[in-house]
């Protein structure tokens, strides 16, 4: 990896992975993955944080195990193999939550077993953990999990603030405030997610205007297979780590596209 988009972080280092998951490729606001728990459980900041951290634990552990097994798992049955690993961790986490945090367990309900099919976890297993060493994979999982937790907590906090006048159960709004109950119902999740995503895009576009590099570091790939120079990528989205040649051209192509986007919206 000669060029990782001009970032000051060393590619695949622990810090780079954390930064990538939290900011550059935030699974909720940038990649738009895992929308089902994002919209369903963020009725309060605590629920959002709980869901995010639960997912983070599963994500980090499953990334680690899948990375360890990446040379053993046959390509053709990799998805079932990933699911088995993920489901095992979800079962463990579910039992632990039920035993030690019953309140959170009740609040999250059905959405804990549904972590098995959370596309962030499967997505990271497929596009990162199955092709990279253990330590970066572990930190990729933690970074993505932190990004997910951060996003869910933000959405939960805004919804709780507007819909109930509280954040983390603390009364924030003045006494005369009448809670706008729609925000803790389903439509509110869409309003807040859309609003925060727009804010995130605004920040990104302003950053691009100032000349900062706001492109994604490694978003799997640009999905532009025609111009992709990745070696050893036959059917997977994200090539192996020996893809030196294509990396530079790919990231500049992505930046060009991002620039166009910015102009179109500005």
């Amino acid at each position: 990896m000669a060029n990782n988009g001009g970032s000051s972080y060393k590619s695949n280092s622990a810090t780079e992975r954390l930064y990538n998951g939290l900011v550059k490729e935030n699974p909720t606001f940038v990649l738009m993955l895992g929308m089902c728990p994002t919209l369903a459980v963020t009725t309060s900041a605590v629920n959002g944080l709980g869901m995010g951290l639960t997912t983070m634990v599963v994500l980090a552990l499953s990334n680690m195990i899948i990375s360890l097994l990446r040379n053993i798992i046959p390509d053709k049955v990799r998805i079932p193999a990933f699911i088995v690993v993920i489901a095992s961790f979800v079962t463990m986490v579910e039992l632990l939550l039920e035993g030690f945090l019953p309140a959170l367990y009740d609040a999250l309900g059905l959405y804990i077993p549904l972590i098995v099919v959370n596309c962030i976890i499967l997505g990271r297993a497929e596009s990162y953990a199955s092709k990279n060493p253990v330590i970066p994979s572990l930190f990729d999982g933690i970074g993505m999990g932190l990004g997910f937790s951060f996003a869910l907590t933000c959405i939960g906090a805004v919804r709780e603030l507007v819909g109930a006048g509280e954040i983390f159960g603390l009364h924030i709004m003045p006494d005369g405030y009448v809670p706008c109950a729609i925000f803790i119902m389903a439509p509110g999740a869409f309003f807040v997610l859309a609003g925060l995503t727009a804010l995130q895009n605004k920040i990104r576009i302003q950053g691009e205007k100032k000349g900062k590099d706001m492109s994604k570091i490694q978003s799997g790939c640009s999905e532009d297979c025609m111009n992709c120079g990745e070696k050893g990528c036959s059917h997977r989205f994200y090539g192996a780590s020996d893809g030196n040649g294509g990396e530079t051209g790919k990231s500049s192509g992505r930046q060009g596209q991002a620039g166009k986007d910015g102009k179109g919206r500005g």
């Binding site: 009448v178 706008c180 109950a181 729609i182 925000f183 119902m185 439509p187 309003f191």
Partner: protein, 311 residues
């Protein structure tokens, strides 16, 4: 060559009807209902209507200014939205309810989808439903100085008797603009005579609602029961002023009949079998959402093509 006259491209004959003239006609047509509401409920109603109209216009202006778009408040569509929203609020609501509803209606429902002509549901109704879900107790509190107790429709739902004459004139509790059937029908006649709206949607809506009541209302063809349902609640206001919104109604003639019948049945279902007494707003909003489908299903057959297939 020099003898050739320059011919500009069509259209060659332009109608004098513009968006603003249509919207202005709607505003004028709503004035009787608004006037009666103010007469009926007093100063509170006037303040609420003023707040909603001011908020919708200011929101549209601010958004367009901020986004560097053309200012379109001159087409009066924001005034119509504000007026309709104001007429759909109970007079007891505090002023900020009108402001919140107006901002939501214009900013979220209309401007974020691209402004007039792009909104997928009626902004005023979406604003009302937003308020109804968010602030249920405020939005269903009809106890004002003039009237206490349930709205006629709620009383009807509980099996109590209602005074139909009062309901037709408008001397009942309810939202500001919905109580007086007479005032609404006067405005509607004005619009029909001007050709701004036709009776395809309104007529099929009301007729199908009557048929639905006869079939499932449990009172058979009882004229008093049916007329109470027609005069009560937002049916008249919805049928003439909101279901006929140019942007969110189907554009095909057949589609407009389908749309009206759908609204009539939905309103009947909500009023008879739903938990609340009123259902016009939700019926129209659901109808708005189905409008693209209705249009697709009722595309007229182009002349010369076979079997209604698209050329």
């Amino acid at each position: 060559m020099s003898e050739l006259k320059k011919v500009s491209s069509n259209p060659h004959i332009r109608s004098k009807v513009t968006t603003s003239s249509i919207m202005l006609a709607v505003v004028v047509a709503l004035l009787p209902a608004a006037g009666f509401g103010i007469y009926n409920f007093g100063l509170d109603a006037l303040i609420l209507i003023a707040v909603t109209v001011a908020t919708t216009v200011i929101t549209e202006y601010t958004y367009e200014k901020f986004m560097g778009k053309d200012i379109t408040i001159g087409d009066y569509s924001a005034v119509v939205t504000g007026l309709l929203l104001g007429l759909n609020l109970p007079s007891t609501a505090p002023w900020w309810i009108g402001a919140v509803g107006g901002v939501f209606a214009i900013l979220v429902v209309k401007m974020l989808f691209g402004g007039l002509g792009q909104n997928f549901m009626n902004p005023a109704l979406a604003g009302r439903c937003f308020l109804l879900i968010s602030f249920t107790s405020i939005m269903t509190n009809f106890d004002c100085d003039a009237y206490t107790g349930a709205t006629p429709l709620a009383a009807l739902k509980n099996g109590e008797s209602v005074n139909v004459l009062d309901m037709v004139i408008g001397r009942t509790s309810g939202t500001i603009g919905e109580t007086s059937m007479i005032a609404i029908v006067i405005g509607a006649c004005f619009l029909v005579l001007l050709g701004v709206i036709d009776l395809r949607i309104s007529g099929s809506y009301i007729l199908s609602f009557i048929v639905f009541l006869c079939l499932f209302g449990g009172h058979g063809m009882d004229a008093a029961y049916i007329s109470a349902h027609l005069a009560g609640g937002g049916l008249m206001l919805g049928a003439f002023f909101m279901a006929t919104d140019y942007v969110t109604r189907p554009i095909t003639k057949a589609g407009q009949y389908v749309f009206g019948i759908l609204l009539g049945c939905l309103t009947g279902i909500f009023r008879l079998f739903g938990p609340s007494a009123e259902g016009v707003s939700y019926a129209i909003i659901i109808g708005n959402l189905l409008t693209p489908l209705i249009e697709k299903a009722t595309l007229p057959k182009a002349f010369g093509t076979k079997g209604g297939k698209r050329a």
